[in-house]
Symmetry: C2
Subunit: 321 residues, 2 copies
């Protein structure tokens, strides 16, 4: 195994200490919770999190205009309810707290347990569950992936506008049916704490419909040129969503260089124009990664002027642009 | 070979077209030159460039506060003099043009040839050559690597302050002796246009002193824990530079996830404090990459309040933070 680390067991805590060195608006509490030093007052506070390994998600989005806290579990492992509770207590305002949870059994269970504990302490808290990964047919089992980052930004916008907890939640829940993501990998990721790969691919194979925790995809194919890959992914998305105009994220899985992501972005745009569709706003970069996996995901969010306004509103996060 | 591309020969032009989709302040001219639409007036214009494969360098730094143009050659291949000349003509102002050249024979030759051609057309132009890679003992042969990005920002600051071409050049040349970089790789990069690797490493080997074009390093070692790797690199830098306080860049080589870079950043900071030294400003991220190489470089710039002011000054580049 070749990874930049000292002790496997310290990987996440070392990483969080490293991240704190470059962001003096951050504070690390309870060893694994990143909060804003400049605590929000009187408006809905937003918390996300989950297993680590998806950097910059979620800690990189703890910033004015986006999240108030990120709860960082071990690599690909849900944070425990007590850590989520620490986060809730640290950022709670009179307006309440919204938990933005990716749809994984462990995350949903632990965040909801923390929510109950917080309610017992009279903290107003609610949650939304993100399940944008259309690779899985069964909607109950769909995972939360890159679209979650759009939700962080959109929810941050509404929270900053002073909407109530019920209103922010309702706004976010109205977005979810308009969003779909699917991803692919050329190479799997290696988990630094175990040295294991989630799957193995031959030199001429790619995996379609991968998750962000090293899970293998829905099916495997011979590698194609990127325009064909995009066609394949977009066909899946089009089965799910009808749209002429969309806000689109082309998200790198962590080990894919920016050059290749931009080549893919070009063919994604070509696909849209060839099908009389328009990308009204395009995001290209590493937003929700799976360690060093090589590959990308496409998130399509049906265009809405209000979404664009929310996404374009200012944030201090260096990772959302 | 598994890469996100359509035609190998179109890799760079597709990439540039993709990059242009996410930055509406950019314009692509002569197929391979990125310029700011909002042309600078009356102040020194800055141009950099070289082979592609180092993204976000240099096109990502074409922005208010940094570069006015980037000339993008094929992957790891110097742009031809006529392309550099196109860039010079496109951005030249009455105050003149400064070329920021990484010290590679092809780059130096082609940029200088373009400079001569521009001078024949009465354009005021000069150049600085960056050779911050201390892996190579012979100073004449030292390569320009990640420190070049600091130069882009510092030169941009002085240009914006209205300094003359001679002054901006002198300011930059005064910085260079205070800066040193060295890099390492856990995995080599694959050149997407050929499918070739610059070198091969066994599962337990790392390469110290790598360049950013897939060149192998100065020596090879068994992989160590990241704190030992940092000690090794810092010892090389300390042979070169004396400093108690420094501005530091921990630069990912393209395929290393942000999680590992932050683990490395934590141990880099630990090394500094353990040696009674201070990092006054720390940069962690992918600034000057070598395609999908896994590894990182450390750039140390001796602290100077003026450098910090220059580096902290505003820029519209989304890639310098």
């Amino acid at each position: 195994m070749k990874k930049l680390l000292k002790e496997k067991t310290a990987f996440v805590s070392d990483m969080l200490k490293g991240m704190a060195l470059t962001d003096d608006t951050h504070e690390v509490i309870a060893d694994s919770v990143i909060v804003r030093k400049d605590k929000k007052q009187g408006k809905v506070a937003l918390i996300s999190g989950g297993g680590s390994g998806h950097e910059p998600a979620h800690a990189g989005y703890v910033a004015e205009g986006m999240l108030d806290a990120a709860v960082c579990g071990e690599v690909f492992t849900s944070p425990t309810p007590d850590k989520v509770l620490e986060a809730i207590k640290a950022v709670a305002t009179d307006a309440g707290v919204l938990l933005i949870i990716k749809n994984y059994a462990g995350d949903v269970m632990n965040f909801e347990m923390a929510m109950e504990m917080a309610e017992m302490e009279d903290i107003k808290v609610d949650r939304v569950v993100i399940a944008d990964d259309i690779a899985i047919d069964n909607k109950e089992q769909r995972r939360g992936v890159a679209g979650t980052v759009f939700v962080h930004k959109i929810a941050g916008y509404y929270a900053d506008q002073g909407l109530s907890l019920e209103e922010v939640k309702a706004k976010v829940e109205a977005v979810l049916p308009n969003m779909a993501t699917i991803g692919m990998a050329l190479e799997p990721c290696m988990v630094p704490t175990t040295g294991d790969y989630g799957f193995q691919l031959a030199d001429d194979e790619m995996e379609i419909g991968i998750g962000i925790h090293g899970e293998k995809g829905i099916y495997r194919e011979k590698v194609e040129s990127v325009d064909k890959i995009i066609e394949r992914l977009m066909h899946e998305i089009e089965k799910e969503l009808e749209f002429d105009q969309a806000i689109v994220m082309l998200n790198g899985m962590g080990g894919t260089p920016l050059s290749e992501l931009n080549v893919a972005a070009y063919y994604l745009n070509t696909y849209f124009s060839g099908n009389n569709k328009t990308i009204t706003k395009l995001y290209v970069g590493n937003y929700m990664t799976a360690l060093d996996m090589q590959g990308f995901s496409i998130t399509v969010l049906k265009h809405d002027d209000e979404y664009v306004e929310a996404l374009n509103s200012s944030t201090a996060s260096r990772y959302f642009f």
